[in-house]
């Protein structure tokens, strides 16, 4: 390309880019337009794309279940707060009536501000930072537990595990990833654990590690040296894999790994990468309800759209994202208008029964802060290569195994 041609091309691109923002807002339609903001590229691409699967199948399922037409407007936040913010503005200008997103707490907070300013309802699918629903927002709603609720549920399930298996671990070593989520969880654990009589074990050491760490030799050596009965772990995915391998190399076999609530252990890649080593890890975390009607319906749609994927590995992301869109559609059905204010009022009145939601928890009802309180966690254990619900008993698909069979008392 000659320089002149190049300059012309550049000018043409400039014009296209310059005109794009002034796109004319389309005429109001009978459909509810849902703007879905997820990190489909950048560092959080993995989870963003997993959540997107839940959004993609939502319109068809919701038409079938509620008889309501919705149209998705997808936007990629690129794992970047600036982009999240401008994309949210763009979706609103393009005529989105409701926003759904956006997994990362920082990006979600940026989108929430835009939504509040414009008076467009924002339903959060996944984001645990408690601060987001503490700002006095009128248009921001969250059907996901805060880090505090997540920890409380996770520790309660831990007690349940020990009770059902009749085990009494005396000590634990607590390892957690030192990022936004890991630190919030660690704070919760640190604050609650001493007051919980049903968890009598002692935490011998707390080891925080770098989320970008590519080598966890020291961390595992330190943990092993404490000689703790079990490992309490708050992790992400890649570090969890490195950590589990390192445990094998260092021949450390504690009673088990229990997470009070984090991603990582139940994910597809964990099982794929580790094979038999992935077995018996337990994660007490938000999950989808394996016994709900909605899970069956969504599950069927999921298998049709993603024949290569297993629902178990995407269920939580799919479930919470689907439910967020479901909340919007349900409000639209009752409000019979796309007027944002009326939609927000309708969302506030939401009362979706357990059979109509996919994620695990009680009926979806928002408190005055716009937060759903009754969301539950489940103890998910990797059994035969599949993340399986083992507790609470009413949703259990199998019995919890603890200590893991490889455990030898030292």
């Amino acid at each position: 390309m000659k320089r002149r041609q190049f300059n012309q091309a550049l000018a043409a691109a400039g014009i296209a880019a310059g005109l794009a923002p002034f796109g004319i807002v389309r005429a109001q339609s009978q459909k509810l337009k849902v703007g879905v903001l997820l990190p489909r590229s950048g560092v959080q691409a993995l989870i963003g794309q997993s959540c997107q699967k839940g959004a993609d199948l939502a319109p068809a399922v919701i038409r079938q279940v509620l008889g309501v037409d919705i149209e998705l407007m997808n936007a990629d936040t690129e794992s970047n707060a600036d982009t999240a913010r401008t994309r949210a503005e763009r979706l609103i200008q393009e005529g989105a009536h409701v926003l759904v997103g956006a997994f990362d707490s920082g990006h979600t907070a940026a989108i929430a501000q835009v939504a509040e300013q414009r008076g467009i309802p924002h339903i959060i699918n996944v984001a645990a930072a408690p601060q987001i629903t503490e700002q006095g927002y009128k248009f921001v709603f969250r059907n996901f537990p805060t880090a505090i609720d997540l920890t409380r549920n996770g520790l309660a399930l831990m007690g349940e595990i020990f009770r059902t298996t009749n085990t009494v671990p005396r000590s634990a070593v607590f390892m957690h990833v030192n990022d936004t989520f890991g630190q919030a969880m660690a704070k919760g654990v640190g604050a609650m654990l001493p007051h919980l009589d049903f968890l009598p074990f002692k935490v011998l050491d707390t080891i925080a590690y770098d989320p970008a760490a590519k080598d966890l030799t020291v961390e595992v050596s330190k943990a092993k040296a404490t000689n703790a009965d079990f490992l309490m772990l708050v992790c992400r995915l890649n570090d969890a894999i490195i950590l589990r391998r390192e445990m094998a190399k260092q021949r450390w076999n504690p009673m088990g790994i229990i997470s009070p609530g984090s991603p990582g252990l139940y994910e597809e890649q964990y099982t794929k990468a580790l094979g038999p080593l992935a077995e018996y890890a337990i994660c007490n975390t938000v999950w989808f309800n394996p016994k709900s009607e909605m899970t069956k319906t969504v599950g069927a749609a999921f298998r049709q759209q993603n024949p290569k994927d297993m629902l178990d590995f995407h269920g939580t992301n799919v479930g919470y994202t689907f439910d967020a869109i479901m909340i919007a559609a349900d409000a639209f059905r009752r409000a019979r208008t796309t007027d944002p204010k009326a939609l927000a009022d309708a969302i506030r009145q939401t009362d979706i029964p357990v059979s109509r939601r996919m994620s695990l928890g009680g009926p979806i009802r928002f408190n005055p802060k716009g937060q759903v309180e009754g969301n539950l966690s489940a103890a998910i254990q990797n059994l035969k290569g599949r993340p399986t619900v083992t507790l609470p008993a009413e949703y259990a698909e199998a019995k919890v195994v603890f200590p893991s069979p490889g455990y030898k008392k030292t």
Partner: protein, 325 residues
């Protein structure tokens, strides 16, 4: 600056001043982002474009500035106007310390660039361990809902942030124009072209380089304070990250390093390019994650290969504006 240039500048200023009356909220948010990067790029340009000191760690000053003002607001309810001065002071001290160490120990070129990265990364991990500022959990400052403008606490509608950023960008432009014509500007140019020769001419290169670093740090601190009160939440992982530093410097390099309008043009081109590609992708129904960034990278590559001095010098010639340095 010739007649034509003055007319064009006046028209641009007018257009920017009346923009909020016509533009949608989306355009406003993009425009605010462009001005933010234009201002920050201008700040970086003082150090690199004028004085020839390559900093790849400018996120350090954005972050320290943002955290200082936000921390004071969060803990003591001190508004940004008080925090601003402390933020500037801290960043000036930090910049002075880095500059002093580097220039006294004779570190230049690539080594200086890597030193700036090291300080930014060091600080990022350091902030992960400051509980008082939220650590990796982030610092959330209260988003008070106000439709009217509250300048004291820097709260208000998007137009207020836009005008604030516009004022900052215009102020930086004026400051840089003045600097370039002042003694400092000529000394910097001499240092940038050939430091040893400049020294031989009796220029105290250490002093003038320090001035560039300090000015640049102070200006970047201001953009950090703006960032804190525009976004209202801060995470070390995001604000100190090296990708932030790269974002800051792409604009001036693409626009035209060492020029007055390069940083502004570069910020506009890159932001519009990013959003333009996204729009084009969605118009063609392409939804493969990563495609956008690949195109973005290719455009960067082409510009740097065929327009080594950036877009502005070429554009200025085309527009018939006397070429500015």
């Amino acid at each position: 600056m010739n007649r034509r240039a003055q007319t064009l500048l006046a028209l641009l200023a007018l257009a920017l001043l009346v923009l909020p009356a016509f533009a949608s909220n989306y355009v406003m948010s993009v425009a605010t982002l462009i001005l933010f990067f234009a201002f920050t790029g201008q700040a970086w340009n003082v150090m690199m474009g004028f004085a020839g000191q390559l900093s790849l760690g400018h996120s350090l000053y954005v972050g320290v500035g943002a955290y200082t003002a936000a921390g004071l607001f969060f803990h003591y309810g001190l508004g940004p106007w008080a925090g601003l001065w402390l933020a500037i002071l801290l960043c000036v001290l930090l910049g002075a310390a880095i500059g002093f160490l580097a220039f006294r120990f004779g570190i230049s070129g690539v080594y200086f660039a890597l030193l700036t990265i090291a300080f930014a990364e060091f600080t990022r991990i350091g902030f992960d361990h400051i509980d008082w500022l939220g650590g990796p959990g982030g610092l959330f400052i209260k988003v008070a809902q106000r439709d009217q403008i509250d300048l004291l606490n820097f709260r208000g509608p998007p137009a207020m942030y836009y005008y604030a950023m516009l004022a900052l960008a215009a102020g930086a432009l004026a400051l840089c124009a003045w600097l370039l014509r002042s003694r400092a500007g000529y000394y910097w140019q001499a240092i940038r072209e050939d430091e040893e020769a400049a020294q031989a001419l009796g220029i105290n290169t250490f002093r003038w380089k320090m001035l560039a670093v300090i000015l640049s740090a102070a200006m970047t601190a201001v953009s950090g304070v703006f960032f804190a009160f525009y976004y209202n939440n801060l995470f070390p992982e995001q604000i100190f990250h090296i990708s932030r530093s790269i974002e800051i410097i792409l604009g001036p390099i693409i626009g035209g390093i060492g020029t007055l309008f390069g940083p502004i043009l570069g910020a506009a081109v890159l932001t519009l390019l990013a959003d333009g590609i996204t729009e084009l992708m969605s118009a063609f129904g392409i939804e493969i994650p990563g495609v956008k960034q690949v195109f973005y990278g290719i455009v960067l590559l082409v510009v740097i290969m065929f327009l080594p001095n950036g877009i502005w010098p070429t554009l200025a010639r085309r527009l018939g504006i006397a070429r500015q340095r």
